[in-house]
């Protein structure tokens, strides 16, 4: 039977959040200074992430607005809201550019070393423009398809890892050997922001996808975060058992290196290409969501239609991605030390917390007025 598919289904949200979280977390080295306990930190962060996504969704639901930009306007009035909105547009564009840069670095490193970074970025940018151009409903459908392909590729990858037999679970022991205190600071300053805190970008899209925001949506989102976190933990475990914590600390792209290690019967040698394809799919999802959040912000600010804003702003993002860092090590350094602390924490936690408090105060301040009118 043919279906029209006009409304969104919670399963689409599941796949969307799942791919989004996997995004660059699969690519980059999550918890690189935690050594053996990186997987445990990721697992713990999953639960915090579930709370975080519930909090973001309830922020939108509570204030009964469509996107987080409207929440800014509600909380801080017209001028303050606009200012905060522009700030967030800039933030989303910056993160989008960083993610683009992550992917182009991967391609330059592992797939096309001879091609200049700029060209890779341009080709990727062309695809992002096309994916955004086909419209919101279409690209969310497309991401469903990506979800299937991604699941298939990862399933084959894990099967191959097991078949290869080149793993040693002793690399994981002793668990929490340095005590839990060594893990906790990293959890809150790094892992919570890098995959999980970026869910704030969903506050822009989720209001348009599900106008009423029933509790089913929240539950599905939390389930998705759980699934993504578990998969991340699993990939971290695979990386750790394949080559141990000391090598993992120094690897730029641990999953790709783990895939490179697999060698079955002298035949399946370099299957990293499939992993890179899977990573490409998820990074496309992530970059598209952030770009959508930023462009939607500009559309909200200037009232222009969404489609006409795509090309300039994705071009702008590409330009920024050239200048984000000079080389790969600076990029990783900035991405895992500077950015989460100074940029992610304020935008992802502090400001939404303040907004929540402001909205609660405002709604309580309005209630007594209404009661006095009656």
């Amino acid at each position: 039977m043919l279906r029209k598919m006009d409304s969104y289904s919670p399963y689409q949200l599941f796949v969307l959040i799942f791919l989004f979280l996997e995004g660059t977390a699969i690519l980059m080295n999550v918890g690189f200074d935690l050594g053996r306990d990186a997987w445990l930190a990721t697992l713990v962060c999953t639960f915090f992430g579930m709370f975080l996504v519930w909090w973001y969704i309830s922020l939108i639901r509570h204030s009964k607005q469509k996107t987080i930009y409207d929440v800014f306007k509600l909380a801080l009035g017209k001028v303050g809201g606009t200012l905060l909105g522009v700030l967030y547009i800039t933030y989303f564009l910056y993160i989008c550019a960083r993610d683009m840069r992550d992917l182009t670095e991967l391609i330059k490193n592992a797939v096309l070393p001879a091609l200049p970074l700029e060209w890779t970025a341009l080709c990727f940018m062309a695809i992002i423009i096309y994916v955004l151009w086909i419209g919101t409903q279409n690209f969310i459908h497309l991401f469903m398809l990506f979800g299937f392909a991604f699941a298939a590729i990862l399933a084959i990858f894990f099967a191959l890892v097991i078949a290869d037999g080149n793993y040693d679970f002793h690399n994981l022991l002793p668990v929490l050997g340095d005590g839990p205190m060594s893990v906790l600071p990293s959890i809150f300053t790094q892992i919570l922001e890098f995959p999980f805190g970026e869910l704030i970008a969903f506050t822009v899209i989720i209001g348009t996808m599900f106008p009423m925001l029933p509790s089913k949506v929240s539950k599905m989102a939390m389930l998705s975060v759980l699934a993504a976190g578990l998969l991340l933990t699993l990939t971290v475990v695979v990386e750790l058992v394949t080559f141990g914590p000391s090598i993992r600390e120094r690897a730029m792209f641990p999953l790709v290196s783990a895939a490179r290690n697999i060698s079955i019967g002298n035949f399946l040698e370099r299957i990293e290409m499939f992993i890179i394809f899977a990573i490409l799919l998820t990074v496309v999802v992530k970059v598209c969501i952030f770009a959508y959040a930023a462009i939607q912000g500009v559309a909200w600010y200037s009232g222009k239609p969404f489609k006409s804003l795509i090309i300039p702003y994705v071009l702008l993002t590409t330009v920024i991605s050239f200048y984000v860092s000079n080389n790969m090590s600076e990029h990783i350094n900035a991405g895992l030390r500077f950015v989460p602390f100074f940029i992610h924490i304020p935008f992802q936690f502090i400001i939404p917390a303040l907004l929540f408090i402001l909205i609660l105060i405002k709604s309580r301040w309005r209630k007594p007025n209404e009661q006095s009118a009656v």
Partner: protein, 65 residues
């Protein structure tokens, strides 16, 4: 409001480039060949973006008349 648009681009580009350049390159950005290449591609893209938004602007101004 579309000319706002150009202003917005300029402001954003300026702010972000300032942020990135200050953080990374300390204003020495024509030193190596890769920097020149980057600058060339970046300026090409920016010119294209600005031209596109200017064209959009002009098209919209033509509509009611």
């Amino acid at each position: 409001m579309r000319t706002f648009f150009l202003i917005l681009i300029f402001v954003l580009v300026g702010a972000l480039n300032l942020l990135c350049l200050y953080e990374n390159e300390h204003w020495h950005f024509l030193v190596t060949f890769t920097q020149t290449k980057k600058l060339a591609t970046a300026s090409l893209l920016m010119i294209f973006a600005i031209a596109y938004s200017a064209a959009m602007d002009w098209k919209e101004r033509k509509k009611p008349t």
